[in-house]
Symmetry: C2
Subunit: 398 residues, 2 copies
């Protein structure tokens, strides 16, 4: 594993030499150690940790999570992907209100103070932009996991069950759809079926323990587990009950899928099962020997049941280990110990979810839906080519 045998004396000398660089200007020996800074009110990461989101989009309206540099299942809030349609509004929490109205017995307005008095529910689940796979069939070999798959992240979200609030206002019998509206400059809106709204939807005021981040919807975000990102309306200010969908811009002109036969698929809410190997991946160069192939897998339809990894372009598949816990509509990190023999290899992963669905290859997906529909909901497998010199590149398979 690239380690070496050292005596304690040599190790201490080595460490002291290292510390000399840190203690800027000091001639360091093993005996000289300086007391560091004391406690702080709100911690920051190490100045040596330079892992960042990459900003993209013609308006810089999205940022991609650096999947290849992260561990475990929680995405740090500062690195959760962003996607907004009119920038990030600045909202004073004491002035923010949520109106629930339409086909209800008694329309009501809730302040944050009101919402905090309701029973709190929390869940760890992923959010994924419907466009998360949009670069798959356009990218060259020098493409990172961050670029290919940076629009999925995971947090623990806490807030109030939407079903509790809908009970408070009394949904009328005819109420079968819900409109969710954000407070951003474009007042982004999406329609949600009532059946889904009464299931596991949250009005979240917290993300990973603290207040929801501004770019994630501070102070209130709708969380619709397993469903495409834009339905998880940020800066939520209004919910309207109706007897039909609202046919908003973001479910007609956008976020709909043109099909092979000339029709358009609308309301493709749920994100299908997907996985990606996050290392080894471009731009890594690896050495011969043992590595852990690691990646992420998820399904909007339930739990990840298993992940398989191939190093021979899909001829043979090997069961990867899943980190625990494996939760419903939640991302899981997988790993497979793998010995690289120095030959060119094609590495691919595929996930099987608890409904029995298997992630499709590019060929399978294109055969079913046609390439033109794959701007949104592209959940194809990702393949990495390990060259004989150890360099790893993205391998397009379309």
């Amino acid at each position: 594993m690239g380690t070496s045998v050292l005596s304690r004396r040599r190790f201490l000398q080595a460490t002291a030499t290292g510390a000399g660089v840190v203690l800027a200007g000091q001639k360091a020996t093993a005996d000289v150690r300086r007391v560091g800074p004391w406690a702080s009110q709100y911690g920051e990461r190490s100045p040596f940790d330079k892992v960042n989101r990459t900003i993209s989009g013609n308006l810089q309206h999205e940022s991609e999570t650096p999947q290849q540099a992260l561990s475990g299942m929680i995405t740090p809030s500062s690195l959760h992907y962003e996607r907004h349609h009119a920038g990030v509004p600045t909202i004073r929490p004491e002035e923010h209100k949520l109106l629930i109205h339409g086909m209800v017995e008694e329309p009501k307005v809730f302040t944050l103070h009101d919402l905090l008095r309701f029973p709190q529910a929390s869940r760890i689940c992923f959010l994924e932009c419907a466009g998360n796979g949009k670069h798959h069939f356009k990218s060259d070999e020098k493409t990172t996991p961050q670029r290919l798959c940076g629009l999925i992240s995971q947090s623990e979200w806490s807030g109030v069950s939407l079903s509790s609030l809908l009970r408070e206002v009394g949904v009328k019998k005819s109420g079968s759809w819900l409109l969710a509206e954000g407070s951003d400059a474009c007042l982004l809106t999406r329609s949600i079926p009532m059946e889904r709204a009464l299931d596991d939807v949250l009005i979240a005021y917290a993300q990973n323990g603290e207040a929801v981040r501004p770019e994630q919807g501070y102070p209130l975000r709708l969380i619709v587990p397993g469903c495409e990102g834009s339905m998880n309306v940020k800066w939520l200010r209004r919910l309207e009950v109706s007897d039909q969908p609202f046919m908003t811009r973001e479910e007609t002109a956008k976020y709909s899928d043109p099909l092979k036969d000339g029709t358009v698929r609308q309301f493709s809410f749920v994100m299908d099962a997907k996985s990606i190997i996050t290392q080894p991946a471009y731009p890594l160069q690896i050495e011969k020997g043992w590595h852990e192939i690691r990646g992420l897998a998820w399904s909007g339809r339930g739990q990840v049941a298993g992940v398989e990894v191939s190093d021979d372009n899909g001829s043979s598949w090997h069961q990867a280990q899943l980190q625990s816990p494996v939760l419903d509509k939640s991302c899981v990190r997988f790993g497979l110990l793998w010995k690289w023999d120095g030959k060119e290899r094609l590495l691919t992963s595929r996930v099987i979810d608890s409904t029995g669905y298997t992630q499709p290859s590019a060929r399978e997906l294109i055969a079913i839906r046609g390439k033109q529909s794959l701007r949104y909901h592209n959940n194809t497998m990702t393949t990495w080519r390990v060259q004989s010199d150890g360099q790893v590149f993205y391998q397009r398979m379309d």
Copy 2:
């Protein structure tokens, strides 16, 4: 729930007035909305979110997590409690090394690069300072959950299983203890029984997905789930295998418990089950009607099996709801919907863990261990007094 009935028109007017304050200087109407800032590389919290750790200790060598302001089970890394004995060292990751030596077949040094090649393991678990209850019998009624119980936090930790590394170096048959040493100026050391080291201990390089925070041990921290904080050695640089404990300062002069009979209890590794109501609590003033009593519960010996809440000084107890998932050696948030009738009430919680152990009252704990031993490992129940005017105060029970 303190809500009011409003028409959409009145709501929009209200919102517009609110927006006027945000859009500094602009005369705002419902039609004027400005596009906000676009995406960023590394996000920050809202400028209106002022929740902070409180710095304490004679040297400002600790900071307390604001339990009353947090949600769910994950503590944001920036608000994870701190406790250090010689400040926070600045360590360049590429220079950091971990030596494993002593009674082993082949001593080895591991770089971060080496460790990243091993299979990754992750777990969500709490860390708790042994001194987390030290203010319990000293505090006046104006004491917050943050002060009483701010030295416990929870993260998802990711890294390498210590057992994998010990297999790499080959522990000799006589090796029954392990010394863990940090890189801080005091080179903090603790002894760990080999049986425990081979169980579920991690060498963590990641916390909540990204690199371990500097004050939590960047770049490497030992994670000994369920065991007192100081055993989770930060800035880990050396592990030495021996056939006996090392009797370091932090397990003899400190972190040992003087008992009633004049002897001293040493190596009280595991943190017993504990819970605390985090709201309502001082300094809140509550209104009559429905509230959710919320708090945290955990056990270093296993899972939380249940939490009970009393509003009548322990005469009757009611089963609280636990948020999910409930994990091994992991903190869980509980809640109980409760209607306050305007009378003085004493609110208390107690946890029962999966071993059948029940959190003791102050009287029970003092009877067993004597008050002088309760500087460390004080896991007594916490009681809050709700006065008839709605003000909530800490109620000492010793």
